[in-house]
Symmetry: D3
Subunit: 275 residues, 6 copies
């Protein structure tokens, strides 16, 4: 269990439900996202329950950990199953917090929460229509999300690579790209979101592999952990869903540690905003 | 390239064609078979070209290395493509030597060479009809092979685990199970094969994880490296196809080193027998 | 959870209760036994539910996994707490299966189940009265157990090192030492136990570090995984308690894989004997 | 030996005495601080003897390395013993440079040198009165130091987490907290110290785990290596004692490399200031 | 092969020839530069072919990968052989892109391309005349290059350590040192180069070991990956030769990933400038 | 220091002098023998001082540890220097115990002690006259030793690979090859030695890489740790010099642990025989 959470038995009382989705089937380079959810939970163990900034205790934020939805190798079927789980969470008036697993799982999350905008931290555009003949690969996830009815606009923060076709797609009005340099220069995510509801998806490869090497497709030139944290905090209050994906076990734990901290930053900030 | 081989340009003159098949999509526990072929080549580097037992130089056995057939996540399509590559090798009168990749790839190998018997070293029966809803998983490979027209009998050496249904299937007349204990006790693979043509498939997890931890589904209680070597040597002269599968990069290299040595033992023995 | 178990909610119906005791305070050389229980569970994932030898399904043996009893750095207090947990399990007529953690925890186990004899697989005698001034170190555990009232005799299998004082202690009538060589030569643990009740403790360092490097105090010259397995099977039916200890995460998983398999071998054999 | 030092035989002539204190008993999450001192020495090997900034050769700064004070699992007894060693160093008019080991050891250092102020780089407040029932845990070290007679004030740089009680304690007049952001914004440690004597303690987890993952309780959101270095340089001339703690071996060496460099930066700067 | 390149058969049409030089004989601290070239190729696999900044596809830049020039332990002989290979590349009007291997190999590169200036990113001055009695060590490479006839000036970016003699040598008119701080402060490499032809050598240890731990002689206090990238881009158009050296396999891949990206940044920028 | 030894100051009283020779220049495949001596010392830490078989305490056998003779990259010069150190040890009537480092260093050992026979455990014949143009490579060491005046005969135990020329050389009367199979079958090293003085050299790659993966040129098909131990014990009493070489740090410690144990077995047995 994620430290500071209660078991899923108490779900009625939950404000947030953590759920692991260890899908690892289309990870194109370095596999291991199947170990992501448990590794994030493990590296969250040393964190203090209390957060000075928000003056909150994590264990008092109403978070439960429902464990992992065991994955198999048919991503499309898995997303349906996962979507069912997430929909049930939303019916219980809780906000789902997904721990990936490959980025593909985000589609189930967005489908379930139906936000106005999709705020994504990612090195990659993920706007392909197909990858290696697979229409449901991690590299197509933002493309699919752009077609979900409720989605008005998409924001991709930390983006720095894609195919020529993806970059052309990204010039359309519904997509805003914030490069790592733009972010450092002060891009204001809060203003961009406005009063719209958001789904926040953190592909950990948005962060530079010098800080977060434990990921499936490392891409140098990324954002700093600090910028990732500030972005999550700035967007948090608008969120109706959250995930963090593409964490593997192929490093010394620094990637999972950062991921666990971003989960905490999200929940503290979201909870503080609504109370 | 596998040390001691020439490049694929010379394929007409080849007796053996090494080909990597880095499929890693249904690996159920520890991923990394995608790195198997290159890791086997790497750990074969320190081996001497000369083999005292057969008085042969590896570089004089007519082996070429055709590189890897890049894998994607549709195993069924991939097997078809791989089968095409292997069929072309056979048309050139060469014997294919496949480096996996997950065990699933063996189906393409057996399909291509059409042997009388299938000789498999494996901890697992791999006789499932489906695994997690996937009819083309590594855990179903021997089931599929048992249905190939030319296959008269199947021998599974080192087998020690399976579902109840698999074990029942294994009691049929066309399947012979040799446990690690039976093998140590002196099971004679040469006699079992007789004058039939064979395809030899080495799932490296047949060997105990104490010796070969770098594999997808480690299963304690396995055979020794020595027994694996003697089995390969005993079966080699009958073979029309050979593979070694399920090697990952999650160890200190001992698994790939053993795999590379078994490839060499196979080729030395087969070549010595026919010349 | 250990694969094939149910959650602890069903404890009334349980035959076996798995419980993790991640104590890691007196580990003298290589730390990491705190990760032992979870790592054993992880590497047990790929095991089939069905066991051919006993014709049993693990999930039908009535095993529940109660999770870990979180450890802190006062070993003496921790043993008391753990003893309470184990006593509750016994009151529920279930057999406790402890996953260590350092060997020190075994004292709580033996105290709780009150067996006639203590059957220990260990490279070390663990008969010190104190180690570095600590009277409750892993190196003193068998000494303490020898003083428990119910204990008639102690058997240490795989033992190969100790202080001169420990070896002298081991010459007393209540201690029998079986060296790795003696074990290979055919020592009969079943006869030694007779019709007495036993507690079986597997310090994984009994096995040679060539097979099981992930342990706190590696000692070359050990028993084989096969001998460990046969010993566990031979002793199982007499057991009223079982543990496996000193597994760390500092290897490629082969140590945890073996440990998980020995847990399974124990339960299959014990369950088959009583049904 | 730390490169560039002489052996302890020459202690009379020493200006600085390096001493390892590999205590690793209350490390709450990732163990391995027992390997810290030797790993720091190892990764200091490639450093040049000459420092351009101060125009000094390290081997001419009068540094000896007295080796490690072997640790055992009774932290309280160990601190007494260590305090004796450190007191002897001070009597010889040398400045002790401690290599940890868990942070707990700092108490022995401050006790021995009796500074006016305690300058600590740490992610954690370490102001607990007890941790898991242990009054002498690494998480209580700054609390204990705050009670030492000579200590007027405490400065904690890089601090970003603690319990609510610790944060309340930190609001008292004798504690100053400098967050990572405050430090980047230009907090002036030299001014804060004034003309008082200091003990500098570097808990390496003050640095972000992206740069220094090899530590016992990684906490994202930390200071940069550059800020750590500038802080050490700014405080150095006031110091009468120095330590660096919480380095483990669970990374690729970057943490020990940074620690070794900070030791060097401290000694160069301190020596340059007094000559 | 480096992803996006063709095989060396097409060398006539090549604009750039990648060539690996896995020399690893004088690596003084952490060995493994012998695995550098293949590891850089491996971690370049997930990069997209298309580069948004330059609007170029890597596979359309005319790059071939000639594989590795197998190294042995006589560095002087090896450099001669390598120089021959590089000279042949230049005769074919292609620009050599060397993947090291230890820094020593750069001498062969500069000798072959005869540039006006040498632009080096390095933590070390490498201006020794001899190291451990070896006049052809990685620590002497810039010294040797300073004596090559065509070389007018030398620029060492990221330099922060050397012997006193090296620093004195560095005060001569033909050497310019840019410290990490100077670089951040805006040193303009384009202006420094002017209209002269350059050879760019990236010793990856110029980058801080927090970002790039997989190198032979880690030296804290380095430049950021971003500064490395901007420097390579700024210098690229002047280059007649390029190398990246001192990458090992002793990390989680972040060092090779960065190195592969710098190779790509160099080629994109150089190609864009000339077309 | 190797545990149980005293420092070199007491050399007059020493029976055995341990000396590290971390040469790592011609290691052809996996580097890291430079870390061999310190790693062997580290993994010997958990061993008990007392040995039951010989009834001896290691600390009472008169062993001192003189530390390492720092290596550089000119192997020929280094061997001369090392030979001087070893000759000094012999003049003091002590037996040198060398910890490698690559096998090349054995030449210095044999040169210094002038034995009648050379008893070598090795996977490789090491009878090349040159390797990659280097006449002083690890692969030539037994060739050089065969030319030393005092050497009557050479015994190579565990040998299983070499060039055709080496195998021919090995058919000469002065060389006896004992394959791993021959050893298991009961080859009697004591009889072979007779009353001649021997130098024992243990190239750890004689042992199968399944047990000892941390070595420079792993070669499957090796001897067991038990056979290595029995061989060392059988030969020990005749020895006037001993070394263990080719241990690297690229594993989980099992290789260094075995090496440290063989050093201990050698000294216990040798000391017991002479007293
Ligand atoms: Mn993504
Ligand atoms: Mn991404
Ligand atoms: Mn299989
Ligand atoms: Mn298998
Ligand atoms: Mn024990
Ligand atoms: Mn033990
Ligand atoms: Mn602290
Ligand atoms: Mn801390
Ligand atoms: Mn350099
Ligand atoms: Mn450098
Ligand atoms: Mn050798
Ligand atoms: Mn060898």
């Amino acid at each position: 269990m994620f430290p500071g959470t209660r078991e899923s038995i108490d779900r009625d009382a939950a404000e947030y439900v953590i759920i692991g989705a260890p899908l690892d089937v289309s990870t194109s380079f370095l596999p291991g996202t199947r170990f992501g959810p448990d590794r994030i939970r493990q590296f969250a163990r040393p964190f203090d329950d209390y957060d000075r900034r928000t003056d909150l205790h994590f264990s008092a934020c109403g978070v439960i950990d429902q464990g992992n939805v065991r994955a198999w190798d048919d991503a499309t079927e898995y997303l349906e199953w996962l979507n069912g789980e997430l929909t049930a969470i939303i019916r219980d008036d809780a906000l789902p917090v997904l721990l990936g697993g490959e980025h593909t799982i985000t589609r189930a999350g967005v489908d379930a929460v139906m936000p106005d905008v999709f705020v994504c931290l990612d090195a990659h555009l993920d706007l392909r229509q197909t990858y290696d003949g697979n229409t449901n690969s991690h590299a197509t996830v933002t493309h699919h999300i752009s077609k979900i009815d409720t989605i008005e606009e998409i924001l991709i923060i930390g983006a720095r690579t894609g195919t020529e076709t993806e970059w052309e797609r990204a010039t359309a009005a519904d997509v805003t790209i914030v490069s790592p340099t733009d972010l450092t220069a002060g891009f204001d995510v809060t203003t961009w979101i406005g009063d719209r509801s958001s789904y926040i998806s953190v592909d950990i490869d948005a962060v530079d592999p010098g800080f977060a090497p434990g990921t499936g497709t490392p891409e140098p030139g990324g954002i700093t952990p600090q910028d990732a944290r500030e972005t999550v905090r700035a967007a948090a209050s608008s969120a109706v869903g959250f995930d963090i994906v593409e964490v593997t076990d192929r490093d010394d734990g620094q990637t999972a540690s950062l991921a666990g901290k971003l989960v905490r930053d999200f929940i503290y900030t979201h909870y503080a905003a609504k109370t």
